[in-house]
């Protein structure tokens, strides 16, 4: 298993000007994030809404707003290009679409409403010098051939999502980043979309699936190896093989998220996630944690394939 994309010590911050009597704020959207995407493997990144998940894909594709400040490294293998410092011309001409494919939330809204799906896919293939035809891409993404002749408004949400996936594959990228590709879809469509992403990984791509849908991750983890990273208040608080983490979560937040599933107790994690502009000092989960309070700030500590950022969490 070789690394395709390695993120280390990634910080993303936004400096917001004050307005109408509100003081300026510093929003920490990502703090010391470390992730590795491997060829042939899917990494699922989960967390509550507003924890900073989506900023990662923007940081990795040079699409952050102008007021963002970044630190750390995001190394794209094999040549070791640092995505955080690469010039926009390189990101535009060599990275986006060609080496990193991006599938967004509500992919249908990214399509031009006045042209057919097929015309747009063919354009993507032409512009990216893609090796496959639009028809092959459609088949690979599970998009019915008949949908190529349709306009975006004629597609259902699930079909539009597959059109977005087909377009992301047009430039034959090694890395596919999917940011909430299943939000708002019904369960059978969620299953089909996540199955497609898992298949891409099995075919050798490095796939990042950012989602709030733990059930979808639990489902694909049951049929093949999946890596899991749990994000809380801008940090990765736990990571490891998904089946092991689901079976025995180490971080109380991971355990809380699992316990909130309708078929696992349906109990919300008590309290609220902190504002990213007002993170508490020390462990960001401490205010919501039922365990004895810690005074210092746990860092992500590795134990074999797993890692956790919590003091009492690691079993002996």
């Amino acid at each position: 298993m070789s690394a395709a994309l390695e993120v280390t010590g990634l910080d993303v911050r936004f400096r917001l000007r004050g307005s109408r009597g509100r003081p300026p704020r510093l929003v920490r959207a990502a703090s010391d994030v470390a992730l590795t995407l491997h060829h042939g493997r899917l990494l699922a990144l989960v967390g509550e809404s507003g924890c900073g998940k989506s900023v990662l894909t923007e940081a990795l594709t040079g699409l952050l707003p102008g007021n963002a400040e970044t630190r750390g490294r995001a190394t794209l293998h094999p040549d070791g290009l640092d995505l955080l410092t690469a010039p926009e011309a390189v990101l535009r001409d060599e990275v986006r679409g060609r080496r990193i494919g991006l599938v967004g939330q509500s992919a249908g809204t990214f399509l031009t409403p006045t042209r057919t799906v097929g015309a747009q896919l063919r354009e993507a293939v032409r512009m990216l010098d893609g090796p496959e035809s639009a028809e092959v891409l459609a088949e690979r993404a599970g998009l019915p051939a008949a949908a190529l002749d349709l306009y975006p408004h004629e597609l259902s949400g699930g079909t539009a999502q597959r059109a977005g996936l087909a377009a992301a594959l047009a430039g034959d990228p090694e890395v596919v980043l999917a940011d909430e590709p299943t939000a708002g879809l019904d369960r059978p469509l969620v299953d089909r979309t996540t199955d497609l992403l898992a298949e891409l990984a099995r075919a050798g791509k490095a796939v990042l699936l950012i989602t709030h849908d733990l059930r979808a991750v639990r489902r694909i983890a049951a049929s093949g190896p999946v890596d899991l990273a749990v994000m809380y208040a801008s940090r990765i608080v736990e990571s490891g093989p998904a089946d092991e983490v689901f079976a025995r979560p180490w971080h109380p937040y991971t355990a809380g998220l699992l316990g909130a599933l309708p078929d696992e107790g349906f109990v919300p994690v008590p309290g609220h996630p902190p504002e990213l502009s007002d993170l508490p000092s020390g462990c960001p989960f401490r205010p919501r944690c039922g365990r004895p309070s810690c005074t210092d700030d746990p860092t992500l500590v590795h134990h074999g394939e797993r890692a956790v950022a919590c003091h009492p969490a690691v079993p002996a």
Partner: protein, 218 residues
Amino acid sequence: MSLVGSGLVGGWRRGQAVVDQLDVAVEPGRVLGVAGPSGCGKSTLVRVLALLHTPWRGSVSVDGTEVRQMRYRAPAALRRRVGVVFQQPRASADPRLTLSDLLTEPLRAAGERDRAVLDARAAELCDRVGLTAELRTRRPHEVSDGQLQRACLARALAAEPDYLLCDEMTAMLDASTTAALVSVISAEVDRGLGVLTVSHDEPLLAAWADEVVRPWSG
């Protein structure tokens, strides 16, 4: 006393009824789940029951007052007794309003002008749905989907409705926020609120609803 739809037939395109001969009754203090795949007509049913869309046939009655007789010019007082939470908080929140103004909109629509009263109600509602005081002055683009959906729930509860209709309320939300919103609603149900929730999420309905109906299956 209940919110009843009987013999409802309706849709959007002539000759294509998506709600076809449906009978539903939302009872106080109970949660009725309506399950069905996407595109089957669940949202249309919610809009009809919320007195937002006129059915072609059939009638809706709120605690015995039949709306059909009013040719769907339902008086505001009747509409106020039915709250709605939609699937997409971003699409159902006016981006220009602060959360505080957003969730007191129903009260202002009902004629409340006293700023002190509105602020007090906003504080109380935020507390009920789990929004911190700091968020009240924010606008929708400055909060997360989960926080905005909490505000939309607060707005639906602002006029103290007797019935609450939830249209895929949690489809955009994570597990913990979903469970939190459901527990807020459950507390209201204990006080007598009648709830209808439509969803394609069977495990959610199994955990939440007192009864689940599947009008579109078979």
